[in-house]
């Protein structure tokens, strides 16, 4: 990574990919600083994977430009390939081969001699806790093990840039935490990571900057703090004992939190955003506590209370005025989104 001077691992401008009538990626601009984890957050079908595939030289862009460490992904594809690794949404290893065979195969393809490839494979299996499964075919691996062998394959040669495309989708919380630990270890050694995810939680845990993408467009971009400030730090979810008290509770919350209160389909449930607007994300818990005290003082009986991070749904609601489900529904969603994006 010597020739580039901008300090950017990835730089795209107006990146476009169309499949037939669909504009899967519709003018994406990204600037990913080297040495960081950059989160790309969006629902299914938002264009995350297509973007990653273009950056990893697997798909040719239909418009715009993309540079990885200063190298054009189309004209200097080989330069790019020697610097990046990809862990796809589905295990990017050969399921018919064993874990060890997969790593030796890739080691050989990366130019290691037979002995060095075997050694490196053994060390990686050891570090990833897969020594016992080394001689098993990958198709018999659990979801967590597949992720591990997949990431192990990606760091056979320490890449300058690692693409992780939804690395924890479908994993249980425990395996997910372990993948996060691996990602942190990789980044600590100086590798840049581009992480796509559907979970705000995950982006929050790992990424320093986040781009929110919807229907092929970046609709928000910034540090975690900036993004949260625009969305609100979290939401208070309340369940009352008596549905008759809900209008009263709604009024109290509105005054205490100075925020919109949503009435849920469940007649005893309400949701309110806290720490939104000008608030910087701090003090959400205090605001919520004050609201609770206020409810108690006015005699509203609260059975259940929780303060959570905004979900992807809430992020989308805040940024686009529609939730993620609408994102798949046709064109009426398109209109409302375009206004916000503009």
């Amino acid at each position: 990574m010597s020739q580039h001077t901008s300090g950017l691992a990835i730089e795209t401008s107006g990146l476009v990919k169309t499949f037939g009538e669909t504009r899967a990626v519709d003018g994406v601009d990204l600037a990913v600083p080297a040495g960081t984890v950059y989160g790309v957050l969006g629902p299914n079908g938002a264009g995350k994977t297509t973007t990653v595939k273009m950056l990893a030289t697997l798909l040719r862009p239909d418009g715009g430009e993309a540079h990885v460490f200063g190298h054009d992904v189309v004209r200097e594809a080989d330069e790019v390939r020697s610097r990046v690794s990809l862990t796809g949404q589905y295990a990017s290893v050969d399921e018919d081969l064993t874990g060890a065979e997969n790593l030796v195969l890739l080691g050989r393809l990366l130019g290691h001699h037979k002995k060095a490839a075997r050694e490196r494979a053994g060390q990686l299996l050891e570090a990833f806790g897969l020594t016992d499964a080394a001689a098993k075919q990958v198709k018999h691996y659990s979801g967590g093990m597949r992720r591990r062998i997949d990431i192990a394959a990606s760091i056979l040669n320490t890449p300058d840039l690692l693409f992780l495309d939804e690395p924890t989708t479908g994993l249980d919380p425990r395996s997910r935490n372990q993948v996060w630990d691996i990602v942190r270890a990789v980044v600590a050694q100086g590798t840049t990571v581009l992480l796509t995810t559907q979970y705000l939680d995950e982006a929050d845990q790992l990424a320093s900057r986040i781009a929110v993408i919807d229907q092929g467009k970046v609709i928000a971009e910034g540090t975690k703090g900036e993004l949260k400030a625009s969305v609100g730090a979290g939401s208070v979810h309340l369940r009352l004992r008596d549905p008759a008290q809900r209008p009263q509770a709604e009024e109290v919350l509105r005054l205490a939190l100075e925020a919109d209160v949503q009435l849920e389909p469940d007649p005893v449930a309400l949701t309110a955003r806290v720490g939104g607007g000008a608030a910087n994300g701090q003090g959400a818990a205090e605001q919520a506590a004050r609201a609770l005290a206020e409810l108690a003082r006015t005699g509203v009986v609260v059975d259940n209370f929780s303060l959570g991070q905004p979900s992807l749904d809430e992020v989308f609601l805040a940024l686009t005025g529609h939730d993620t489900r609408d994102a798949h529904d046709a064109d009426d969603a398109n209109d409302s989104k375009d206004e916000v994006a503009a």
């Binding site: 390939r81 990046v84 990809l86 018919d96 065979e101 195969l105 659990s142 425990r174 935490n177």
Partner: protein, 282 residues
């Protein structure tokens, strides 16, 4: 997230962050492998797949045995007086026909394999681009060799006696394997071009049946109508069958060998680049 239980029975060993860090730092990048080395590595992958899924050898063992037995006894009496007489003529031809038919499976395997995630990884590696496909065909060349040995063995049991001896037989098999390797680029093309396994199979049948049957494998073309003779005498399968027949009989059919290799070169020159174009676009 600290609620994860420690009582789970089939826990994975933990990831060792310290050794992971050491690995990440230690890794120096070796120079990229040569085109040959990368191709051979992919060939090794194909052999590993055969090792793990030996059932896939069914089409290079049972199918060729069936072909030899079926045609020897079906046509033998009528065409040459007896199966034993006929196999002397038939075996090299049926060998060529069966192996050329077996090449068809390449398209199906490429088609199903290319959809898998591992191809994304292969395609994002800084290696000689055609090496994935070449490796594929190298693995297939091994399959063709197995099929040839199986058929020769069955043929010998039925009374086939090659006058060319070991040398002639080996030369015949080598020519056939080289031709099949080249011919298979048609299938890699179809495997990448067509969307489903079924359509690959369908198109392959349409190509392979006329090409193999309309040849001199079963009978001398002299009795055929003129227009058919024109096709048959110029078919690549006829050239290969004549060349293999000659080599195994101890002759040196220079013209037929040259024609066979010429066709092989043509197949690679035409379908190789088309395959790679499709592969890069996939």
């Amino acid at each position: 997230m600290s609620t994860a239980t420690t009582t789970e029975t089939k826990d994975l060993a933990p990831v060792r962050a310290d050794s992971l860090a050491a690995l990440l730092v230690a890794g120096e990048r070796p120079p990229r492998p040569s085109a040959l080395s990368a191709s051979l590595t992919f060939g090794w992958r194909a052999i590993l797949k055969i090792k793990h899924v030996p059932e896939q050898l069914f089409d290079v063992t049972a199918f060729p045995i069936m072909m030899v037995l079926m045609y020897t006894y079906l046509f033998g009496g009528a065409l040459a007086g007896s199966p034993k007489e006929y196999i002397q003529f038939l075996l090299p031809g049926i060998l060529v026909m069966s192996v050329v038919m077996i090449t068809m499976y390449t398209g199906v395997s490429v088609n199903t394999d290319i959809e898998k995630g591992v191809f994304d990884r292969f395609r994002s590696l800084p290696i000689w681009r055609p090496s994935v496909m070449v490796g594929y065909l190298l693995g297939d060349a091994l399959r063709y060799t197995i099929a040839s040995v199986v058929m020769l063995t069955v043929g010998m049991l039925l009374g086939y006696r090659p006058d060319g001896g070991v040398g002639g037989v080996l030369a015949g098999i080598a020519l056939l394997v080289v031709f099949s390797f080249a011919f298979s680029w048609i299938w890699t093309m179809f495997g990448l071009m067509l969307r489903t396994e079924k359509s690959v199979m369908g198109v392959s049948m349409m190509v392979i049946f006329p090409l193999t049957f309309l040849s001199n494998v079963f009978v001398d073309p002299k009795t055929m109508p003129g227009w058919l003779q024109a096709f048959v005498n110029n078919s690549p399968v006829t050239h290969v069958a004549s060349a293999v027949r000659g080599l195994m009989a101890g002759d040196w059919p220079a013209a037929e060998v040259a024609w066979s290799l010429g066709w092989a070169g043509l197949f690679i020159a035409v379908f190789g680049p088309i395959t790679m174009r499709l592969y890069n676009r996939k």
